[in-house]
């Protein structure tokens, strides 16, 4: 066989593939007005139908980030308990993409929680654990040596630390988006979300009035987030790892469904001085104590399944 000819044919084939990629890729970014007008004119337009089937170009489902989760916990009166966190020594146990993604979420939540309570050594340790997970997942530059050095240099400056953590989370999630690995990004977020639930449910003491406790209220609020979690997982259900995580989340859903939340109409009221709007509404919750303890137990099982 003439090797030169084969080489040349392969190059031509590659050129065609690359050309197709360019044509389809560019098409999504720029549209020619004339072409669009022609297409529209050639259709019989039923305005009501268009309204009914109107599709939105981009839909985002946003879960609380590890940083937001930690802030919600602190605001609700949580205290710091390092024993609840996933030990950093466990990093060597995680070798699959799924376990590394889940524990990147778990460790960044632990990192955020430790930093909000000014736990300097734990903050550095959990940043290093997050770094190990990010490296394992091939996330380049999300957490490099420079990040650790900046963290150490500013360990007593909470604003800078928050900024570093926020940037770390953003670098990880955007890396997955840019590299078409949304499934991994979703698993990271679910890992962090479950860790937040685990910490919260374990910080609620046995003698607490479940009907009058801010931390319990924030745990119940996760029923609202649950639908977003499931929508996000559903978008990525062609991924095997996502399906197993979805099974876990559906187990939580079965318990959350036993909790009744009713909310009054929301009334926005803006303070003219601060320009801050308060969304005024009242929420009523019906939850049996056994439902709460069932939820706590299920969260513990799922979280241990993620981390052990």
């Amino acid at each position: 066989m003439d090797i030169k000819s084969v080489h040349s044919k392969a190059l031509c084939f590659l050129a065609v593939i690359v050309s197709v990629t360019i044509i389809t890729g560019c098409g999504s970014n720029k549209k020619n007005k004339d072409t669009e007008e022609v297409t529209i004119e050639s259709l019989e337009i039923d305005e009501q139908l268009i309204k009914d089937v109107k599709t939105v170009k981009e839909i985002f489902y946003s879960l609380p980030s590890p940083l937001e989760t930690a802030m919600i916990l602190k605001q609700a009166g949580a205290v710091y308990n390092e024993e609840l966190l996933n030990p950093t020594e466990n990093v060597t146990n995680y070798v699959t993409n799924k376990s590394m993604a889940l524990n990147l979420g778990v460790y960044t939540t632990d990192l955020s929680y430790a930093s909000l309570f000014d736990q300097t050594q734990a903050t550095i340790n959990y940043m290093n654990a997050s770094k190990r997970m990010a490296e394992g997942l091939g996330i380049l530059n999300a957490i490099d040596e420079n990040v650790i050095e900046r963290l150490e240099a500013n360990i007593n400056n909470r604003d800078v630390i928050m900024d570093i953590i926020s940037e770390t989370i953003m670098n990880s999630s955007s890396f997955f988006e840019e590299n078409d690995r949304q499934a991994m990004s979703t698993i990271v977020l679910v890992g962090g979300w479950v860790e937040g639930l685990y910490i919260a449910t374990n910080l609620v003491g046995p003698d607490v009035d479940l009907n009058n406790n801010e931390l319990v209220n924030r745990i119940i609020d996760q029923k609202l987030t649950l639908s977003t979690v499931l929508s996000l997982l559903d978008e990525n259900k062609d991924n095997e790892d996502v399906i197993t995580v979805m099974t876990n989340v559906n187990e939580l859903k079965a318990i959350f469904e036993k909790i009744e939340i009713t909310s009054s109409k929301i009334e926005p009221v803006t303070d003219d001085e601060t320009n801050v709007t308060t969304l005024k509404s009242k929420t009523e919750v019906k939850m049996k104590p056994e439902t709460y303890y069932e939820l706590k137990e299920k969260v513990k099982i799922i979280r241990n399944n993620f981390t052990l």
Binding site: A15, E68, E214, D221, P268, V276
Partner: protein
């Protein structure tokens, strides 16, 4: 043969442009948009897309009682105005930036946690041009502990 290599190099560079667009979107969100959230802390989530004039996007998120939030809709300078609304789950409008001169920032807090929808649309350009303008649009959230 040399010509094929040359064509391939040019085509490969062109094929990478969309990915570069994504990377630029992140860089834009990081360098330009984040600053506008101050004194709120960026939550770290990355919600950004390349949108063309006339296109819309929606974001679903739960906001929690006890937190102060800032929503910042950040769009590249080349884009026309961006309309944005905040809706409850029944799609009742809670905020509409058309009533605030297309402000890109909205600060709010909640008495009880709620799932809200952020709905945005890039307006059509008023200038007559042959091509529609596209650009990066990022929906950024800032959070702040409630001092009350």
């Amino acid at each position: 043969m040399k010509k094929i290599y040359q064509i391939l190099i040019v085509l490969t560079v062109l094929a990478l442009i969309p990915f570069q667009g994504n990377a630029q979107c992140k860089s834009f969100a990081k360098k330009v948009c984040k600053l506008e959230l101050t004194p709120y802390i960026h939550d770290g989530n990355f919600n950004a897309a390349i949108l063309t004039e006339g296109e819309d996007a929606e974001l679903y998120k739960t906001f929690y009682a006890g937190q102060n939030y800032r929503i910042y809709i950040c769009g590249s300078d080349a884009l026309p105005e961006i309309e944005f609304q905040v809706l409850d789950v029944n799609r009742n409008v809670l905020y509409d930036n058309r009533k605030s001169d297309y402000s890109r920032i909205w600060d709010f807090k909640l008495e009880s946690s709620q799932q809200l929808i952020i709905s945005l649309r890039v307006k059509n350009s008023e200038e007559e041009t042959d091509e529609l303008v596209s650009g990066c649009v990022a929906i950024m959230f800032g959070i702040k502990e409630n001092a009350d």
